[in-house]
């Protein structure tokens, strides 16, 4: 009987399909009043000498049955999990539920690139007023009243001696007046000129200027720092060209071209076929400016540079109309996510 019982149990387990059926079988065989427990109780009826052998046989049967039950339970759990997983399949191509990303204004994306390169080279960011004294915006930068160079920057006036700044250079003046060299700063911000709005002009635009003043700073240092900056911005293979230029506050002055990042100098529509694009203006700070700011030009020298963020942004993204930057059309802004 004991021999056939394990076969019977295995067959019953095989047939069981539900947790309930399994539980019923467990009660039937292994429960307190179950068949195997019953077999053990039968031992009392056996002679004393047969009991050990009988007991160990029943115990063996019980372990064998318990193993079979455990295996069945394991198998059913695995099957149930498999079934659940199969039922829970998702269409992973359905859209995610987060709010779609917004974006920084393209001007600010480019500003961050520029800033991060310069802060990596030890420059600090400083800001200054947009409504500014004439003396900081012009006079201390070697542009006296009625000087022809003022024509270069058509100015919004607020009063006789206060203007809306035409460049961020006055921040350089304020920095020199306040801090001892070494000075390494960039001055970002809005600047203003009386240009009517068209595809290439805006009365409000954005500059990042920089200033480096220390003992013994040379034109070669200027070329080194700005060359490095442009290679970091446009890629290591970027070729730079420094051309003589004119700014009243620097001497010597230079305009800097970089090889077009799109065509690498071969010429393309973005660079109007020239292969090179004018990207910034710079020069050795004029001794008169250094002196006006209370430093000794025989001891300190340095360079300043300025770049137009709007222009850089337009070049980078192939934007052909500066007005797009100030219209804030989400169909435009959402292209820069």
């Amino acid at each position: 009987m004991m021999e056939t019982m394990i076969v019977e149990i295995r067959a019953a387990l095989e047939a069981a399909a539900t947790d309930e059926a399994l539980q019923e079988l467990r009660v039937k065989y292994l429960g307190k009043k179950g068949l195997i427990t019953g077999l053990m109780k039968n031992m009392r009826d056996l002679p004393q000498e047969e009991r050990p052998a009988y007991g160990s046989k029943v115990n063996a049967l019980r372990s064998e049955a318990e193993e079979a039950f455990a295996a069945k339970a394991e198998q059913m759990k695995a099957a149930a999990l498999e079934q659940r997983l199969a039922a829970e399949k998702l269409d992973v191509t359905l859209p995610g539920k987060a709010t779609p990303m917004g974006a920084l204004h393209p001007l600010n994306q480019v500003y961050r690139e520029v800033r991060d390169i310069f802060t990596g080279m030890g420059f600090e960011v400083v800001e200054g007023p947009e409504v500014e004294f004439d003396k900081y915006n012009f006079e201390m930068l070697n542009i006296p009243k009625d000087h022809p160079a003022r024509d270069m920057q058509d100015t919004f006036y607020v009063s006789e001696d206060i203007v809306v700044r035409t460049h961020t250079s006055p921040v350089q003046v304020r920095t020199m007046l306040k801090h001892e060299p070494p000075i390494r700063v960039i001055c970002p911000g809005r600047v203003y000129r009386t240009d009517d709005v068209d595809a290439t002009h805006s009365p409000v635009f954005n500059q990042v200027e920089g200033l480096y003043i220390d003992k013994g700073v040379t034109f070669a240092d200027l070329k080194g720092i700005l060359g490095e900056f442009l290679r970091k911005l446009y890629g290591q293979s970027t070729v730079t060209k420094f051309r003589p230029g004119f700014f009243p506050f620097t001497e010597p002055s230079a305009e800097v071209d970089a090889s077009c990042a799109l065509c690498h100098g071969k010429g393309c529509p973005a660079c109007k076929g020239a292969g090179m694009i004018e990207v910034l203006g710079c020069g050795m700070v004029h001794p008169r400016v250094i002196e006006a700011c209370g430093l000794d030009p025989e001891v300190y020298s340095g360079f300043a540079f300025g770049l137009g963020l709007d222009r850089l942004t337009n070049i980078k993204y192939g934007i052909t109309d500066i007005r797009l930057l100030y219209e804030n059309d989400v169909r435009f802004l959402s292209q820069f996510v």
Partner: protein
């Protein structure tokens, strides 16, 4: 500055091609803006002579012309014009030609007769009467026999055949506003010596003093005034070579005397003027400031009202010209002019610049004077003009000249050490190299001890210090040849706050939440504030005004970011972008006093957020404001009902941090929204970032609680207008020391509760750091909370 290439070559031997020359000029600091080829808009148009004229067999108004274009066979062209005749010289646009008007001409048939091109009118060549006589006649342009011969390119006839170099001349180099100036630069760039004119001419034995007397009453504005007299003047056209140069430079030929003054101005950069001597009353030129109320009719026929700022050229009867800007109509050169007085002077740039702006008169002369011209050029130019008079046979030069001069005409000397130059440039140039560079730039340089002694040519008005010498060496040596040097980093020692840091945290948070950053102009107009409906005395109207704005809608520096943002919302809604989350970080300009009286306005960095109803409601925006400020400043914001009148009266809040008001938020008032053309609900928050002070606290670790928390929920019934914020404050104040957190989780309204009532459900979490709390320990806190809510808000525990 447009410099005809042929004219440039009169003074410089150039062996390279024009592009190499242009590159060399650029690298020595002369910005070549462009190389303008001979009129590419006029191709394949030639001079033709009509040798035979017949009526078209099938059209009354058409004529068939046989045109001699210098080829073996005449060309047949059909024309509709009726002013043509056999023997006439006409412009003929041949097959595949392009006209300045933009027309492309191909051969074809007119009513069955072959026409191999088109005869051109003056209009089709874009000519005016002043460009060529007969240009505005209705019909075909008839060319003058002396100008043209069959087969000649029409560009030669019109003198359009010279390549022109276009320069952008820096404000520091007024000397390059002349062909000669550019010639000097070109010679330096390619390494040759220029051949500059050395004017010589014969003078008669009369004395200029018998013709003209000059008094300069305001030498501060006119440091030098020179004059010469020309008698027996024969007015007529100037020769073709001169006209050609003028036309190529963009100046229209008028008559020999006027052309000479224009030619000399373009050549030398010195504006000159020619007066008809018989119109100068008392033979006396007086240079003086205008009197108040004085006026003059200038050459262009317009009457100009003058002020005491304006410098005049007068005779004994009154003004005969505005100094440095334009001559008077009363003394201009006429066909019967017999004696001419040439003026060649230096007027101070600041004054000319001011007058030119005041009168709205920008002329070739004023443009040059306002950039500054050296006083020695006046003499050079005057002599050159006399030489040209002689060459052209235009008159007889009277002996002697008038020169009223109060300027020191000696050359400037700058001393500099080679070490200074190398120190500035980062180079290791030898003395000889430096001298060579400077000599190329026309700076006579000698070496005295360890110094270079540089004699600055007078025309270099821009040079006045050692730094200028270093620049001259650098540009001639070549910026390309200066090495790059990587400077060692010396950080600034001053501690500086990074102005971007907190703004960037807010920007990044908002972008991640779906906001787009905007950039709008910093201007506003009072009409923007009218649209917001703010009162006439509202502080927002205390704004810095711009003296010369681009329009009255941009007349002020803005005091609020709201109108610009509403404009952006409106325009995007117009484009059917309805889901809008926008922000801008910018400044407002808040003057302490107006007028400014020499003080600058305060500039407050501010942030504005806007959200349309399709993107979220008041609470959605509020949540973003809270998180944004928490992330950037580590601060919690308090919201209290209230705020400006441009918000919805029931949906507005004043925001404060640490007890200081930092801004407002609200749904835009429907009437204001309508003013901006917005048809949807828009919620806006504006925050003045200068109002949030104090550094973000450094995070300190707190032990993670070891004992479990106990949660308790209550629901109380209160009046409808009871604020949740106040109730939470009350709960927090009365919950006892174990209350860890309290939050609102449900609001319920029903008829059973009654109108104007609502049930507010709060959950509270209690915890102790010392051990597991018992019900008794919490009970006290709960009782206190309920009692306080009842006392302050009449709150009844909901059954």
């Amino acid at each position: 500055m447009k410099v005809p290439y042929r004219w440039l070559q009169d003074y410089v031997q150039i062996d390279t091609d024009i592009h190499t020359l242009a590159d060399a000029l650029v690298m020595t600091g002369n910005a070549v803006e462009g190389i303008l080829p001979p009129r590419e808009d006029c191709i394949n148009v030639v001079v033709g002579r009509i040798v035979k004229l017949e009526k078209h067999p099938d059209a009354d108004k058409l004529q068939i012309c046989q045109i001699d274009i210098g080829a073996e066979e005449p060309v047949q062209i059909v024309t509709g014009a009726d002013n043509v005749f056999e023997g006439a010289l006409v412009p003929a646009a041949l097959h595949n030609s392009i006209l300045p008007s933009g027309m492309h001409i191909k051969k074809g048939k007119l009513r069955g007769v072959a026409s191999n091109g088109m005869l051109c009118s003056g209009e089709e060549l874009c000519l005016k009467e002043g460009d060529y006589p007969g240009a505005e006649v209705y019909g075909i342009l008839i060319l003058r026999e002396e100008d043209a011969q069959p087969g000649q390119d029409i560009r030669e006839v019109m003198m359009w055949d010279d390549t022109v170099l276009d320069f952008e001349v820096g404000a520091n180099r007024p000397d390059c506003l002349s062909v000669l100036g550019v010639a000097r630069e070109a010679a330096a760039a390619v390494g040759v010596k220029p051949a500059l004119p050395a004017p010589t001419f014969a003078e008669n034995d009369e004395n200029v003093a018998d013709y003209i007397k000059v008094t300069v009453q305001d030498p501060d504005l006119c440091p030098r005034y020179m004059a010469r007299a020309i008698k027996n003047v024969k007015i007529g056209p100037s020769p073709k070579w001169m006209q050609q140069r003028l036309v190529a430079a963009g100046v229209r030929p008028i008559s020999n005397i006027v052309d000479i003054t224009n030619f000399v101005m373009l050549e030398m950069g010195q504006p000159m003027h020619a007066f008809d001597a018989k119109d100068i009353h008392g033979d006396h030129i007086i240079v003086r400031r205008a009197a108040a109320g004085e006026s003059i009719i200038t050459l262009d026929g317009k009457e100009r009202a003058l002020s005491e700022n304006n410098l005049l050229i007068c005779d004994e009867a009154g003004p005969i010209g505005i100094a440095g800007i334009m001559g008077g109509e009363n003394s201009e050169i006429k066909e019967d002019t017999a004696t001419v007085i040439f003026e060649s002077a230096k007027f101070m740039y600041g004054n000319i610049r001011k007058t030119s702006r005041e009168l709205g008169m920008a002329t070739e002369a004023s443009m040059r004077f306002s950039k500054g011209i050296d006083a020695t050029v006046a003499e050079y130019a005057l002599n050159r003009a006399c030489q040209l008079v002689e060459m052209l046979g235009a008159g007889e030069v009277v002996g002697g000249y008038v020169d009223v001069c109060c300027e020191d005409l000696t050359a400037k000397i700058i001393r500099v050490t080679p070490a200074y130059i190398n120190g500035r440039l980062g180079t290791e140039l030898g003395v000889e190299q430096m001298v060579e560079c400077l000599e190329k730039a026309y700076i006579d340089t000698t070496v005295e001890g360890d110094e270079l002694v540089c004699v600055i040519p007078r025309f270099r008005t821009d040079m006045d210090g050692k730094a200028d010498i270093s620049e001259e060496v650098a540009r001639i040596y070549g910026y390309d040849n200066i090495p790059e040097h990587q400077a060692a980093v010396h950080f600034m020692l001053d501690e500086m706050a990074d102005p971007d840091a907190k703004k960037d945290i807010m920007r990044d948070y908002l972008c991640a939440q779906g906001y787009f950053e905007c950039v709008t102009y910093s201007f506003m107009g009072m009409q923007d504030l009218d649209k917001l409906g703010v009162s006439d005395t509202d502080p927002l109207r205390k704004a810095v005004s711009i003296i010369n704005p681009l329009g009255d809608d941009r007349g002020y520096m803005r005091t609020t970011l709201v109108p610009a943002m509403l404009e952006v919302v409106a325009s995007n809604l117009n484009y059917k972008t309805d889901v809008l989350r926008l922000f801008e970080v910018s400044r407002t300009f808040l003057p302490e006093q107006l007028p400014l009286n020499g003080t600058l306005p305060e500039e407050h960095p501010a942030i504005i957020l806007a959200m349309t109803e399709d993107a979220g409601d008041f609470y959605a925006l509020k949540g973003d404001v809270e998180n944004m400020l928490l992330a950037a400043y580590g601060k919690s914001v308090r919201f209290a009902g209230g705020g400006a009148n441009y918000w919805h009266p029931g949906r507005k809040a004043v925001l404060s941090v640490d007890g200081t008001v930092i801004g407002e938020m609200g749904e835009v008032h429907p009437a204001v929204a309508e003013n901006f053309g917005i048809g949807k609900r828009v919620t806006v928050a504006v925050i003045d970032l200068t109002c949030i002070t104090g550094e973000k606290q450094v995070h300190r670790y707190a032990p993670i609680p070891r004992f479990p928390a106990i949660e308790r929920d209550i629901a109380v019934v209160v009046a409808e207008d009871t604020e949740a914020g106040a109730m939470l404050d009350c709960i927090r104040a009365n919950g006892g020391k174990y209350l860890e957190q309290a939050a609102l989780f449900d609001i319920y309204r029903s008829a059973a509760l009654g109108a104007d009532k609502k049930s507010m459900a709060f959950s509270m979490r209690f915890r102790s750091a010392e051990g597991t709390l018992s019900d008794e320990q919490i009970q006290k806190g709960m009782e206190q909370i309920l009692a306080a809510l009842k006392e302050q808000f009449g709150a009844e525990l909901r059954a």
